[in-house]
Amino acid sequence: MMANLPTPMERFVQGILPENPVYRQFLGLCPTLAVTNGLKQAMTMALAVGVVLLCANTIVSLIRNLLKPHLRIVVFTLTIATFVTVVDRVLAAYMYQMSKTLGPYIPLIIVNCIIICRCEVCASRQSVGTAAADAIGQSIGFGLALASIATVREILGTGTLAGFQVMPDSWPAWVVMVLPPGAFMTFGLLVALVNWIDSIRRKSERRG
């Protein structure tokens, strides 16, 4: 059975695009929609999720042989909750304004399905190296997804990118883009774009 599981390199690459947590698995959509009204907060969120995912995957992989099947979710949740609390406190201590901007969405990483999914699919079955590679790949995939949505929303919604003015002053900021409807519209259109590119790629592969 072990032979069938993906190698560390495969896990790493899969997380970035082929199994992108947002565009392919549609997981972790709450922070994806909620904190992408600016690139800075989106990147902080991606980093926070990345740190928690890496730590949780490593710990779960280390204790994977001790896990009892019916108690594994409890162990996953406990591990994730611990690291999320640490990240939340560190943000409040060293990035106070950012911690206020992100508000409840940092504690909500505890219920982010990406992390519990990776613990279940990869870390509880494979070695520490593979679990870490998987965590890094998925985190990069999540970060890229958040960055793509946040870039569109921030430029159209406020005319800035990561706080810097990128649009001319005459740009009428589309306030709706930084509000929740903007998140859904941007996400929907980007999913369509990703699927469209994918279908073109497949067609050309079939021809070639």
Partner: protein
């Protein structure tokens, strides 16, 4: 009984050995280890986090005392002395404490800043309320924390809306009206966020009412500064 039956039916992969506590040894052990780690994080960071909160209030204070008023420019930063403390408010059996900052400039009392909190439309709203030395006039209002609806209720944080409070007399409670003209004693509600507007005004009225007559250097208990 149920457990034995299910395992006979073959639904359980293996019969569970030991009691519930024994089965959960890993969970318990991890809980103890993680708990210890979290206490260590808390002990090492909580000082810094509370300093961050205090500094946020301290930074806003000069603006709350001198910002909204046409009292001329604030005196230079070096002559401003801000002393944090608290004021005990006794109503019936209960005693509550208002965090308060006494602001002195050039050796004389320049004003008070009260921290007040209450329930908004979606969550807790925390305010900093600036008052003149006599406590009979609002000099400024700032929203420290809120979780109101983005795009509607969160406009309570906007300087434009909060500017209405500066200069209001505190003799009578402020009233909230919809689409009213700016007038003394009247706060114009934000369109689409009447409840949030009322919450903020209510918190302000309550804080002023409860601390009336208590804003004196004698009533205030200064906080020991850690530095």
């Amino acid at each position: 009984m149920t457990q034995a039956q299910t395992s006979e039916n073959g639904k359980m992969p293996a019969p569970r050995k030991g009691g519930h506590l024994f089965q959960a040894w890993l969970v318990l052990l991890l809980a103890v280890i993680f708990g210890a780690c979290l206490s260590a994080v808390h002990v090492s960071l909580s000082g810094r986090i509370s300093d961050n909160k205090l500094n946020e209030s301290l930074e806003k204070i000069p603006e709350l005392i001198w910002g909204g008023m046409k009292q001329g420019a604030p005196p230079d930063q070096a002559s401003i002395d801000i002393a944090p403390g608290r004021i005990a408010v006794t109503s019936g059996q209960r005693t509550t404490y208002y965090p308060v900052f006494r602001v002195n400039a050039e050796g004389a009392l320049a004003g008070w800043v009260l921290k007040a909190a209450g329930q908004g439309y979606a969550g807790k709203v925390e305010l900093l309320l600036g008052l003149n030395p006599a406590g009979d006039k609002i000099t400024g209002l700032f929203v420290l924390g809120q979780s109101e609806t983005p795009g509607l209720g969160n406009k309570i944080s906007s300087p434009e809306w909060l500017a209405q409070f500066a200069g209001q007399r505190t003799a009578a409670p402020l009233k909230v009206v919809k689409g009213g003209e700016p007038a003394p004693g009247v706060i114009d509600a934000i369109t689409g966020a009447t409840i949030s507007s009322r919450s903020v005004t209510g918190i302000v009225n309550r804080a002023i009412g409860e601390t009336r007559g208590l804003l004196t250097p004698e009533q205030m208990k200064l906080t020991e500064r850690s530095q």
